[in-house]
Each structure stands twice: as C-alpha cells, then as structure tokens.
Subunit: 405 residues, 2 copies
C-alpha cells in the first residue's frame, strides 16, 4: 500500500511547496497527518486545530526544523548575542540525529549535553539528573534551550518520562521535543497511550510512519504546538518568483509548507499515508502492531527460558535486546562481547535465516531482534530462535575448548 502510494506520487509528480502550487495535496497532507495524530491519541494542542501538522522526510529533518525554531524564538527573547550560551539536552541513548542537528544549527558540541541513562533507569533519561544539570547551567550563566526526549530509544526502545521531564524543563522555558521515530506507531494501541502521559506539555513530537506503520521511506510526521515559531524561523517571502502569487497574498491563512522545512521543494508524501490509513484502517494497523508485539514477547519468553542467555533491557514494543551470559565468572566483558559478536555474525551469515542487528549498551554488546515486517509469522520467530540457539551451542563449545586448551 505504501509502495503503491509512492508509485502514484511519482506518476503525478506534484510539488505541494505552496498552498497555491497544489491546494489538494496541501489540504490532503493536513487532513492525513491530523487523522494520524488522532489515531495516535495525540492531544488537540498538537493537531491542526490547536497547533500544526506536517510530513517531512526524516526525523533528523524534523528535529533540525524545530530546533532552529526554538533557537530563533529563544534568541528573540534573550538577544542574538547569546547564541553561544544556548544549551541543548538529551540522554546518551538519544538518537545521534539530535546532536547532529544541534551541530548543523550552530550549537557547539560543548553546549550539547547528553545525560547518562543507565540500566538502573531502564535506559530512560533520569529527570533528577536533568534538573540538576539545567540548574547548574542556568547558574553558570548559560541558557537552557531545548530537550529532546525519546519514546523508544534507538538501542533498547527505552521510554523517557515525558510528564516528569516537562516539569523539569518548563521553568527554564525549554522547547521539549519528543522523538518517537519508531515507537510512535505503537501509540495507535490504547494500551501504549500511557507511555506519553504528559504529552500535552511538549512543544513538538515526531514519528516515522515508514518505520512501523507500513508507509514507504521517507516519511516523518511532525506535530507541533506553535507552527508560527517554525514559520518565523524557516519562512521567507524573499523569493522573487513566488513573491507575487496568490499563495503569499493570503494574509497567512493558508499553509505554505515550504516555510515549515529546510528545502523549498517537497514530495507529496501524504498520498501513501492516506492509502495506508484508508486501506488498513486504524483497527487494521492496531492488529499489525499488536501481532508484532505479541511475537516479540514470545521471542523474549524463549530467550528467558534458556539459562545461557539474558534479556538485556526490558522489552516494551517489538524489539528484544539479548545476549549470551558470561559462560564462566572468569571471562572478561571484552571476551563476552566477542562471543556475542561472533554469535550475531554467524546468525546473520546463514543468509536464508533471520537478520538481527546489534548495539552497545552500557559497554555490553547486545543482539537486537525486531519484528516489524508485514510478512513475519510466529513460525519465523520460532525458527529464528532455533538458529540463535544452535549457533550459541557451537560457539560456547568451541569457546570452552579454547579455555581448556
């Protein structure tokens, strides 16, 4: 459905950069992202009614856009000369796209603060630590600017506590953005809604329907409270060609999406999301997400039932992070990591079998098993686990042999 949408989009090749350039595509985009926001249980303040909605290409792009909006809003308040004093915050589990966006926007690396989020916090950003850091920065004469919280971090899908983080950030006038690139899709199921408690207080939230809602790459939905801040930062009526058209003679009542993003040109991404929403329906998409979560839970149970393995971070969505336990108490962490690295390489080398990825979490090398494809069935998950077990047996045997040799 997503691919069909892309193919149709290619065929009509419309460029909705101003409302006038394609009223139908612009309005369709508003309606579709609004639908999606409602399906994900987002509050009115982030929907078209109370805020603004758009489709960009990627989360990186969305984060850069809102960061520049926040930067300009803050500088208008504290003065242009303070740009070197702005500080942005995230956890060390936040996707690197955020630090990259801050760098592009001219926030020095030394003003980009990544707060450690360890296993004791289930890899979520600890609000107390954020509070202490922001307080210390403010006392040192710095200006807290922006917080990027995550619903579903990249490595372990950890969930930051939006409510508590907003309570910390709000007194400093900090723009809070929620990066829900992958896990935002899960919010379509009411059972996950509590994970974004407090979302009424955030300034913006982005997620990628191309990750888990069956829409083709690229596709990132962005909802934000104050689109005027975005347009103030990225809008322009400098264009010698557009200047005199109907699109700019609308007294600001119409949405010209060129002013909501980095580029002038843009793709009609709403068509594929519309096809997916109409084709599957909210219930159909819920079924897809639920089935994936159920299969990941089953995989987690299988890992837990094998004493040679441990589940490294608590599974929340459809990703399981696991690794081989230390085979003996005498092996070192680097040796353990090497065993797990070998295990992943051999599992992936089977070719016909499952494909897993890896991450380094708290120094430990972990294997990541994700369910996200429409074609995955329970038997595939069982087979994948069997492949892991077989290779683990071989690796552990040869490892013991080496130790006794």
């Amino acid at each position: 459905m997503g691919a069909l949408g892309e193919a149709l989009t290619a065929g009509i090749n419309v460029v909705p950069f101003t409302w006038a350039a394609s009223p139908a595509a612009t309005e369709r985009e508003i309606v579709v992202v609004d639908w999606l926001g409602k399906a994900l249980h987002l509050p009115k303040s982030l929907l078209f009614e109370g805020g603004g909605v758009t489709l960009l290409g990627t989360s990186s792009e969305a984060i850069l856009c809102v960061l520049v909006a926040a930067r300009d809003r803050k500088l208008a308040e504290v003065g242009e000369g303070r740009v070197g004093h702005l500080v942005v915050y995230c956890s060390d589990q936040t996707h690197f796209a955020f630090r990259k966006a801050a760098h592009v926007a001219g926030i020095g690396n030394e003003n980009s603060c990544a707060i450690p989020a360890g296993s004791q916090d289930m890899y979520a950003l600890p609000p107390a630590m954020l509070e202490a850091t922001m307080k210390a920065d403010a006392e040192a004469g710095m200006t807290p600017l922006f917080l990027c919280a995550s619903i579903g971090t990249a490595a372990t899908t950890a969930v930051d506590s939006i409510h508590e983080l907003c309570a910390v950030a709000s007194p400093h006038g900090v723009w809070v953005h929620v990066d829900a690139a992958y896990a935002g899709s899960a919010l379509i199921c009411p059972v996950f809604r509590h994970l974004v408690n407090g979302v009424e207080d955030v300034d913006s939230l982005s997620m990628n329907p191309h990750k888990w809602l069956l829409s083709n790459n690229d596709c990132c939905a962005l909802w934000l409270k104050q689109p005027s801040a975005l347009v103030a930062a990225l809008g322009t009526d400098d264009d010698v060609i557009l200047k005199d058209t109907a699109a700019t003679a609308d007294d600001g009542m119409l949405v010209d999406y060129k002013d909501w993003q980095i580029s002038l040109t843009r793709r009609f991404r709403a068509l594929k999301v519309w096809l997916v929403l109409r084709g599957y329906g909210t219930d159909g998409l819920r079924d897809v997400v639920r089935a994936h979560v159920r299969m990941a839970a089953a995989f987690q149970d299988m890992v837990g039932a094998d004493a040679r393995f441990e589940v490294v971070a608590p599974r929340v969505f459809s990703l399981v992070c696991f690794r081989l336990r230390r085979p003996t108490m005498t092996t070192t962490l680097p040796e353990d990591n090497e065993l797990n690295r070998r295990l992943l390489a051999e599992v992936n080398a089977t070719g016909e079998g499952p494909y897993m990825s890896c991450a380094v979490v708290g120094g430990a090398y972990v294997l990541r098993f994700a369910v996200g494809s429409t074609l995955t069935e329970e038997r595939h998950v069982r087979d994948a686990w069997k492949v892991v077990q077989e290779h683990a047996t071989l690796i552990l045997a040869s490892s013991m042999q080496n130790m006794h040799a």
Copy 2:
C-alpha cells in the same frame, strides 16, 4: 522514465545510508552521479576520481550541507569563537535557499551579504563589487567564508562568471559553491560548456536532474572537491547501533552516505537517474535540451517582433522573461506592473492554454515563459504566444479607454 524509476525504488524500498546497508545502491549512486558529471563536462577534481559525488533531495539541502562543511573547516582554522564573524556572499538574484541555509547554519542575517546584480550586469554578480566587499569585510575584522555563485538564477537564468569570482574569492580562502539547479542540465550540450569556465576552481557544484533532465522530484546531484570536509562536518560514529558493523570497520575506504547529508535515512534516487541516462543516452538528453532552447528562442523572436513587448533579460537557456512596454510615457512603473500582472492572470486563467510564472526584477514585474516539458512542441509555443497577444490587445485597449475616460 523518471517516474518508472521512482516506482521501482518504492517497490524495492532500499535505504543506502551506509555502504553495508546496500552496497549495490551505494555503488550505483557513485557510478550514476559520476556519469552525469562527465556528461555535464565537469572536471575530474569534482568527480569521484578526484573529489566526491552524491545525490541529495534538493538544492537547499546540498547548499546547507556544503555550507556546514565550509563553516567547520574555517572554524577549525580560525577558532570556534569566530563563528559570529563569518560572512557569506551571494547576489540579490541568488535563490533564497542560500540565505535560508545560512540562517539555519547559524550565520546571522547581518552576516549574509547579497550583492546587487542589476540589468547593467545582465543580473550576474559583479566580481569587482564582490572584491571590494570582501576586502572591506576582511579589513573590518570579519572572516569571508562562503560564496554561492549561480549558473542560471531563479528569476532570469543569469550566469555568474565563475572564473572571475573564484579569482576574487580564492585569496580569502572562501568556499565557492555553484548553484546550477535548473541550468546545470544545459551543460550536457557542449555549446553551453563555456558558461562554467573556471569550474575547476570551485569547491562544489549542485544541480537538479528533476528540473530539466527528466528525473522525478526530488533529486539533486552534488559534486565536491573535498568530501572529507563534508564527512568531518556531518559524519558521526556516535550511533550505538551502527558503531559495530562492517560499515564502520572499513578504515574510511567505503562511502557511508549518511555522513554526507543532514539525515540518516535516504532514498535510492540513483535508480531513476540511471534509467533516464540509460533510456535516453547523453545524445537523447542533448536533443531534449536543444529542442527546448530552440523553442524558447523562437518564443523570444516572436516577443521581439511585437513592438508592444520587450524582452527583459537576455535569454540564455529555455526561459524568456518579457513584459509589456509602457503604453505611453506618462504611465508609472506601478501602473505598468499592474498591466503585466493582469496580463499574466488572464493568460493563466484560460486554463487549457499556457501556464506562465512571474518575477520582480529590478522593480519591474515580468512574465516568465519556460520550456521544460517533454511533451512541448513548437505549435504549443506558437499558440502560447497567440494567447499572450490576444490578451495584451484587450488589456491595452481597456487601459487606453480608462485613460481617456
């Protein structure tokens, strides 16, 4: 062919963000952009052999990427603290994407210098003025950073003199980028090659095959001399997931395109360009460009043969800028502009007829007639001119009537 490429891309949905994620797509991209560069007669220093090549979405994105690369390279030389002293240059005819990119990258609007390029310079950036401005800035303690030159400006397709501008910029260690978004395609014809004389000296050049080389939106090819500067600015090995994969264990010999752009994810745009290049061949594309230029020249001749009209800027490619002359010596420029505005509105309102755009050049409202579609034939051009003439007759008659009333 471009649309077919998009549809195929959607079907395979591959994401060549690292070499390892899709070696075939990454290598295909290198080969295709290299072919294209050779077809456009670009020098070796900008091709894969001596520089670097990539496909991004838009010119805005390309300009932002190289600007950040230039910024970081310069700051490494002069010190991070000098960021507020960096100055970027363009002409007042340069696409607004450049000033927007500078703003996003944290270059204050007051440090973004647009040099007037008037009719006496055929709307090209006057090198002497740039020289005086850069000299004055350097003497005032500022640091000249970046020049965005244009081959084919947005309003009138004016062509900046690359050779002379590089000679001015080079002593200041300024990064010179050439924005050839639309007119870059014309370089496929040897007859236009002289327009980029001196291109050996630029640091980067971008153009959009989606504008005039039959590739679907979005598609921007970027060639640059020093890709290591781009990777230094936009690259990262912070990713907890990618950190441990083969892609980053290559000693920098492989191209990970995620490090050449703002976003992590990206589309396999090379497929559509490949289909276009293979389907039409260089000769076929030359024929397309030549036919469009010939039709635009014919339109220009028709405008020139009607004394009521004037051609506002010399036509270089396939765009003709024209307007109604003052009907009497007593009308004011705003009145003249209003007549031309009415003319454009009425021509476009015919619906079935031609669609033209407008620009304001040196205060004068001009109509822009562009040939760029594969389906345009000479009879369409003749018909378009007839429509313009008919409406001009009616408008001028009613205007004279009003004056005598």
